[in-house]
Symmetry: C2
Subunit: 133 residues, 2 copies
Amino acid sequence: MKLSNTLQRRIILEELRKLECHPTADELYEIVRKRIPQISLATVYRNLELLSEGGQVLKLQQTGKQKRFDGRVESHYHVRCASCGRVADIWDDEVIAVNRQLDVLVEKLGMEGYMLELNDRCEKCREKDEKPE
Amino acid sequence: MKLSNTLQRRIILEELRKLECHPTADELYEIVRKRIPQISLATVYRNLELLSEGGQVLKLQQTGKQKRFDGRVESHYHVRCASCGRVADIWDDEVIAVNRQLDVLVEKLGMEGYMLELNDRCEKCREKDEKPE
DNA sequence: CTCTTTTTAATAATGATTATCAATATTAAT
DNA sequence: ATTAATATTGATAATCATTATTAAAAAGAG
Ligand SMILES: [Mn+2]
Ligand SMILES: [Mn+2]
Ligand SMILES: [Zn+2]
Ligand SMILES: [Zn+2]
């Protein structure tokens, strides 16, 4: 089924690409709503799914966590906050190196792929640790 | 809060430990039901959660729809079937080596941990590939 | 045994995601 | 440009996994 060119789809991808962060569907919905106020959350979900099938969007999913989406599809790596679930890019040579090794290993074992995610606590959650009140 | 010794909790852990597979809460519920027919699914969920907090059970939150649980808590690694979501143990020296490296890296970066998921297709799904009808 | 605490079964509630569907928009064909 | 075929939308219902609630039962302490 060929994707047609709709305003909704275009804006969803456009707004996602503007973001440094990795929003959930509902976070992106709130942003897109500013430009298309009557858009439905289901439309955002539907399009993120289609775009990720088409390889224009990365879907970061883990059981028990809300899905998050990434407009950058070039190969790069992620850290997830262990307490709030937010995801950030990580640029660290050793992380890159381990991923390279995994590429090779997965290839050699004839597997489909892998998913490596580092866990940490994000800035915001660290601040809360300081002053818990 | 100290855990008391209930029949339900004991049997849940006992049955989980008997399994080679990594069941979802409802799969384990069906098994435990044979011994305690009136047990509730919520009890299974509650106890798996408590047992995993207590370190007697591993909770596997990988990609997929449902959490899976593991009665073996010694350090070991998993492959997940990309199509049905089933999880199996993997015993491969190189996989172990990469995990060791990740332990070190995570330690060095001062992070909380990591989640590495290897993806493949399980036997059952491979068979289906053969005769799709 | 008696009091206090914890757990249970049953079931309702929740939250994220997906499905349904009639109305509308996009694309392809004339 | 008109029309026919196809895809998409917004609204909302449904689903599914999981968690919360609660009165009754069981377990632990003394
Ligand atoms: Mn990213
Ligand atoms: Mn295992
Ligand atoms: Zn955080
Ligand atoms: Zn499978």
